[in-house]
Symmetry: C2
Subunit: 307 residues, 2 copies
């Protein structure tokens, strides 16, 4: 039994993509949506991200059997509170947030009488807002569902089927493990990218123009994820603080070891480290999580002929 | 007056791309090439990276009016020494290395009677070896030429015209400034990418399979440059040690500041930092140094329709 009336609260990259994907892959379902920004609501209506853009969150959820909160982690509690009175008692509550323990707690406290099953589609681009979504965002990407210890298995399998219908592969794990895994695969990379882009723009002996000009040497790869939504990422770091700080500590230790190898001229240590990291890239490409074309196929060169 | 006989020593990504680009854009020039690996020489001949693949470096340079060393920074001195006896007295010597002060010194000492004008095309992909090159690698990319203080202007302008013919935009600066600029736009990003990929593969509480599976959350962007040639990058860090360590120190200070903001829950500092870094990304795209499509247009989704 699939969902018939899906309410999407927050119509940015994730919410908009869910709306468009439901229309394409679950055409029998009706979608309603709400965004706190009037401009975003207007644009969402123009792009037809959902069947009906509502003026309040309460109105959007009034007939829903599934409500998905697609707002930054720090806004989840407030968004959930605004719909509490209007939300049907048997509606399933879920979300798409990038940290799971803190969000599960926030949604559970705001909606204590509802079934809450958090989820996190590990899919995104550097763009945000109502223009960023597209129907195929979740295709061949993983969606991690983090049910509470005691969960209604029927509801869980309904949510799993929903994400599979949108093109995702679903994995189930605890919220705690999710937060550790994502700290290393997503949160730490974003923090480091934000840091280096900041460092590069603050130098006095190299101009910002030079940094931009010669960015093709490697720097530009970091700028993509450092262009991600600032509000969301502030909330991610604050809501997954412990796991991020743990991973950051390990990263700093490893960086110090390589720094020492450079300082003392220990080429063997550098070479061994750099050789090991190549294998990971190969595995990521083999599992279809990245593009094997050089430079991701970016740019206009003839790399497709490159063999 | 352009070069008529170009010798390319080292037939990997850079050397191979130069050979193919010369055939396409300077068809009147004749190219010879050599690679220390017999397998690479055989593959270079199959791909016709140069008109003639020679069995020794000396043979390759015997009639050259331009020789370009396309070997790792640490191999420049030895490569130059092997051609010293055979190289015509009026041949111009250049290279494509990623660090310039150390290479200028190595080439100058190995070939004291020749004119040496180092260069560095800021273009590349994560691939290496004789299969990696393609003719359009340098198109719309910068090539930095670092002439010595006293330089023959005719020779310099010949080299500039050569790179422009291959599609590059040429910039001239001192080797010292080059090394500082590239430390931040290329060397530091590579070091950090190598570090985080290593950190992620060494965790005991998150498996390598999980890291690969959920890499689309940001991690995969780092794996691309961490798959670059280990020998070359070992040599880059060792040959540009001071500038890399300086930039690394600044990066570490900035990372510590963000770490503290996370620890104490200072959302304002995080938000302000993350907002600032977006502008840099926009500038890089405006200047044509990266692809504006979400995810660089990578993957098979319909991002082109994304507006």
């Amino acid at each position: 039994m699939s969902f018939a009336r899906i309410a999407i609260i927050g119509l940015g990259l994730q919410g908009g993509s869910i709306g468009l994907a439901v229309r394409e892959f679950l055409p029998q379902a009706r979608t309603t949506g709400y965004d706190v920004s009037p401009d975003h609501r207007a644009r969402a209506a123009e792009r037809r991200l959902v069947d009906s853009v509502c003026d309040t969150a309460a109105e959007a959820v009034r007939e829903a059997d599934l409500v998905i909160f697609c707002v930054p982690p720090g806004a989840m509690a407030m968004a959930a509170e605004t719909v509490r009175e209007a939300l049907p008692a048997d509606a399933l509550v879920s979300d798409v947030g990038s940290s799971k323990q803190a969000i599960a707690k926030a949604l559970g406290e705001a909606l204590p009488d509802h079934v809450v099953i958090p989820a996190h589609p590990v899919a995104g681009t550097e763009n945000s807002g109502p223009d960023a979504g597209f129907a195929h965002l979740f295709r061949n990407r993983w969606c991690i569902v983090t049910p509470p210890a005691r969960v209604d298995m029927v509801r869980l399998s309904q949510l799993v089927s929903f994400w599979e219908a949108l093109g995702a592969n679903v994995e189930i794990m605890t919220a705690e493990h999710h937060d550790l895994v994502l700290a290393v695969t997503s949160h730490l990379p974003h923090l480091i990218a934000y840091t280096i882009v900041g460092t590069a723009s603050d130098l006095e002996d190299v101009t910002q123009g030079e940094v931009i000009k010669y960015s093709a040497g490697g720097f530009r790869d970091f700028t993509r994820i450092a262009a991600s939504d600032p509000t969301m990422w502030r909330d991610v770091f604050l809501s997954n603080k412990e796991a991020v700080l743990t991973m950051l500590q390990r990263f700093s230790e490893d960086l110090t070891a390589l720094q020492r190898a450079i300082r003392v001229g220990d080429g063997d240590t550098l070479f061994q480290h750099f050789t090991r990291t190549r294998a990971i890239r190969r595995s990521i490409i083999e599992e279809g999580q990245d593009d094997s074309r050089p430079d991701f196929g970016r740019g206009d060169h003839d790399s497709a002929k490159n063999s």
